[in-house]
Amino acid sequence: MRISIENFTKSFGDTTVIEDMSLEIGDGEMLALLGPSGCGKSTTLFAICGIHRMNAGRLLFGDADVTEVSSQKRNVGVVFQNYALYPHMNVYENIAFPLKVRKESRAEIDRKVQEIAGLVHIGELLRRRPMQLSGGQQQRVALARALIRKPDILLLDEPLANLDAKLRLEMRSEIRRIQLATGITAVLVTHDQVEAMSMCDRIALMDKGRIVQLSTPKDMYENPSSDFVAGFLGNPPIAFLEGAAANGGFRLANSQVTLPVPSGIDMPGEGAPMRFGVRPEFFQPDNPLKVSGKVSFVETQGREELYDVTLENGAVLRSIQSQSAGFRLGEEVSWGIAQDRILAFGPDGNRL
C-alpha cells in the first residue's frame, strides 16, 4: 500500500524534531530512513504507525487519510529495535497476540501462526519463552508477530542493531526475502548505510529532521547531492580534499598543487572555497591524475587492504586495493585519482 506523508511536522515540547517533511513511498517498495542518531528517522516511523501523533501535516495509506486514526486501527506491523516481545508469553502466544486481541477463532489463529512460523523458520520454537531464544530467533519472532495479521505496512526500527555481525548479514537477506515474498510496503529505520543500501529499493537520507536526498542506493552512492550524503555513504568512507577554485582548476589548501576539475560542473568564482570528494576505490596507483604522499596507515581487511595516504599539505586520501599490492607504512607513493569520478562540492556543501 502506498504511503504519503505530506508536510509532516513533529515537536516534543519546545523542540521541533521534524519540520514540514514530505515523503512518498510506493506500493510494495522497501524504503530506508537512513541518518545519524537524532535525525528524526524513528520519529517519522512512530508517526507512520501512530504511536506519535503528528503536530501538523497529513498521512495517507493508499487514498485513506489516517492522520487521526489510532495506531490500533492502522493495520501496521512494527518490529522494534529490541523486539519488544512479551516476556510472559511463549513464542506462539506472542505471534498470536495481534489475532487474539481481534478475537479470531482458535483454529484460525493456529493455522496462521503455523503458516507464518514456517515463513520465518521458527516452527520448532513455538513453545519457548522469549528469554530462551537467541537474538536472531527473537528477531524472527518479532517479524512473525508484525506480519501475522497481514498488515498493509511493515515498519522496522533498527531491527539489526542488537545482532552480532554474522547474524546481521543473515537477517539482512532474510528480512528482504520475507518482504519480497509478502510484497508488503516496508520502511526500515537504520543508521547503518550498508543495511540501507543492501536491503532497500530506495533510501531517504535524513539529517536534522529533513530529508537531504531521496534516491536509489546506487544513485545515492554515485551522485550524492551534498558532501553530507557523500560522507554518510560508503565504507571505507570517502576522503575530502579542502581547497579553492583557481584558474579554472582546484588548488589544494596550503599547497601549490592544482588539480583539474571534472568536466561539466559549474565552477564557483575565482578563489571560492571548494571540496573534492574522492572515494577509496578511485584513488589507485594506475590512475593518471597523480598526487604524491606518504602511506600513513595500513589496515588489512582480508581480501583488500586499506591505505591512508597523507599528502604534502596534510590532507589525507584513502585507497582500497587488492591484497597483492603490499605497500608498507611510511612508503612514499604517487597514486592517481580517477578524474571523472571526483565529486566536487561548493562552499555550502552542495554538489557542483
Binding site: 512512530f46 504507525c49 489510532s70 492502522r74 512494527v78 522494534f80 529490541n82 486481541v101 508477530r145
Partner: protein
C-alpha cells in the same frame, strides 16, 4: 575467616543487635508469656501463699474435699511455745510454766475447751475474762497469713494439726499461690471463650475485604494515573498517598468527623430529612464499611506506588508493540500490564495479609471492636485481653497465647503464599545475552 568477613560482621552488628532486641526478644517473650497464667492478679514477678475466703472458694472450685476445706477454714487452739511465752509476759511465769508442763502440744478445736482445761490449773488467773484472753493467745489459724514459700504454708497447716494427703497438699499449694505459674491451659481456655469463633471469622473477613479493596483500588489508581498526563497523575498520586503519611490518629479522626452524628454525612443528609446518627457505629455493616475503607485506603496508597512503579518499569516499546498489534486500552491492561504486575501483586498480597492480621490500630482508633464486638478482630482481642481489659484483670498470659496463634497462622500463610505464587519461578535465572 578473612579479615573482610570480620569487618562485614562488625558493620552488621548494630543491625543484629536491633533485630535481636526488637524482633527476636519480643517473639520469645510472647512465646514465654503464652505458657504462663500471668495476669494483673498474679503480677509478673513472684507470688505468695495465703489462705483466705477467696482462695478457699478457688479450692472448692478446684475440687477439694469439704472436710479439708472446713479444717483449713477453722480456727484452732494449739498450746505451743509461742503462746506460752506470750502468757508468761501477760500472766506471770507460774501460769506459763504450768501450761508448759501439763498441756504442751495439746490441740483444742474451740476456745471453750481450752478455757475448760485452763480452769483445772492451779495458777490460773482469777477472772474469767483473763482466762479468755489467755486462751486467745493460743489461737492459731492459717487464714489470712502470707507465706513466702510453699513449705512455710505446709508447715503452718500441719502445725495446725490439719492432716493432708500428698494430693491435697499439692492441690492446696498450686491453687492458692497468688503469683504466676507455667501452664498450657491458655490454649484450651481460648477455645472456651464464647465469642472466639466470631472473632476468627471477623479476622478473615477483615483481611480478605481490606486486601481486596487495597489491591483493587491500588491497581485502579496505578493504571489510571499511568495513562494520565504526568502533572495530573503526580497530583493524584500525592493526594492518594496522604493516608499513608498522615498520622494514624489524625487520619481516623477525619473519618470520625465524617461519620459523627454532627459530622459531614449527618449534616449533609439532614438536608434531606435524615435523622442524624453516628454512621460509623450505628450498625454492624456500617462499622465494617468504615473499617474496610479506612484500612483499604491506607493499603491502596502503598499498592498504588508499588504497582505504579512496576508499570513504569515495563519497557515502553512493549506497550507500543501491543498498541500497533491492535490491543485496545483494556486489552493492553489485561494482557500486557497485569501479567507483568504479578510479582508486586503477590508481594502486596503476602505483605498485607501478614500486616493486616497483626495490625489493629485503625480499628482500635475508629470502632475499638464495636459496636458490640462486631468488628473485634483477633489481634485486637489479644490486645484487649492482655493490655486493655474492661474488667480490669489484664490477662497477659492468655493475650500472649492469642498473639502466638497469630504468629503461627502468619508463618503458615506465608508458606502457602510462597507455594501458590511459585517464588522460584518469579526470579528468572540470569542469562548472558548472546
Amino acid at each position: 575467616m578473612r579479615r573482610a568477613h570480620l569487618l562485614g560482621l562488625g558493620f552488621l552488628s548494630p543491625a543484629l543487635v536491633i533485630i535481636v532486641m526488637l524482633f527476636l526478644v519480643p517473639v520469645l517473650l510472647t512465646v514465654m508469656f503464652s505458657f504462663t497464667n500471668m495476669s494483673t492478679a498474679t503480677g509478673i514477678s513472684g507470688g505468695a501463699y495465703e489462705i483466705n475466703s477467696a482462695s478457699l472458694r478457688k479450692l472448692a472450685d478446684a475440687g477439694a474435699q469439704e472436710s479439708f476445706l472446713d479444717a483449713l477454714g477453722q480456727e484452732a487452739f494449739v498450746v505451743d511455745d509461742a503462746g506460752i511465752t506470750a502468757v508468761a509476759a501477760a500472766y506471770g511465769e507460774q501460769f506459763a510454766n504450768e501450761i508448759g508442763s501439763q498441756m504442751l502440744g495439746e490441740r483444742f478445736t474451740s476456745r471453750r475447751d481450752l478455757e475448760r482445761a485452763f480452769r483445772k490449773l492451779k495458777s490460773r488467773p482469777r477472772s474469767t475474762r483473763d482466762i479468755k484472753k489467755a486462751a486467745d493467745l493460743f489461737k492459731r489459724s492459717v487464714l489470712n497469713v502470707r507465706f513466702e514459700t510453699a513449705d512455710g504454708l505446709v508447715g503452718a497447716v500441719t502445725g495446725n494439726g490439719i492432716a493432708m494427703t500428698p494430693d491435697q497438699q499439692e492441690l492446696l499449694t498450686r491453687t492458692i499461690y497468688t503469683g504466676w505459674s507455667w501452664t498450657t491451659d491458655n490454649f484450651a481456655l481460648m477455645t472456651q471463650i464464647p465469642y472466639i469463633w466470631r472473632v476468627a471469622g471477623n479476622t478473615v473477613m477483615y483481611v480478605v475485604l481490606t486486601l481486596s479493596v487495597s489491591v483493587g483500588l491500588g491497581l485502579f489508581l496505578a493504571i489510571t494515573t499511568f495513562y494520565l498526563p504526568s502533572l495530573p497523575a503526580a497530583s493524584f498520586r500525592a493526594i492518594w498517598f496522604l493516608p499513608r503519611i498522615l498520622p494514624n490518629v489524625i487520619f481516623v479522626l477525619m473519618w470520625k468527623w465524617l461519620a459523627w452524628d454532627t459530622g459531614f454525612i449527618s449534616s449533609f443528609l439532614a438536608n434531606f430529612g435524615v435523622a442524624p446518627r453516628n454512621w460509623m457505629l450505628d450498625t454492624d455493616i456500617h462499622a465494617w464499611v468504615f473499617i474496610v475503607l479506612i484500612n483499604g485506603m491506607v493499603g491502596a496508597s502503598l499498592g498504588m506506588i508499588l504497582f505504579g512503579s512496576a508499570i513504569k518499569a515495563i519497557p515502553q516499546p512493549m506497550l507500543y508493540a501491543s498498541e500497533v498489534d491492535g490491543a485496545s486500552r483494556w486489552q493492553q491492561i489485561r494482557y500486557i500490564i497485569l501479567p507483568q504486575l504479578r510479582w508486586p501483586i503477590m508481594f502486596i498480597c503476602a505483605y498485607s495479609t501478614l500486616s493486616l492480621m497483626t495490625s489493629f490500630e485503625y480499628i482500635l482508633l475508629s470502632t475499638d471492636g464495636g459496636p458490640g464486638g462486631a468488628t473485634e478482630v483477633w489481634s485486637l482481642m489479644a490486645f484487649h485481653t492482655a493490655l486493655d481489659n474492661y474488667a480490669g484483670n489484664l490477662q497477659y498470659g492468655l493475650g500472649a497465647a492469642m498473639a502466638l496463634v497469630l504468629v503461627i497462622v502468619g508463618i503458615l500463610a506465608s508458606l502457602v503464599y510462597l507455594r501458590i505464587f511459585n517464588f522460584n519461578d518469579l526470579v528468572a535465572k540470569p542469562r548472558i545475552e548472546q
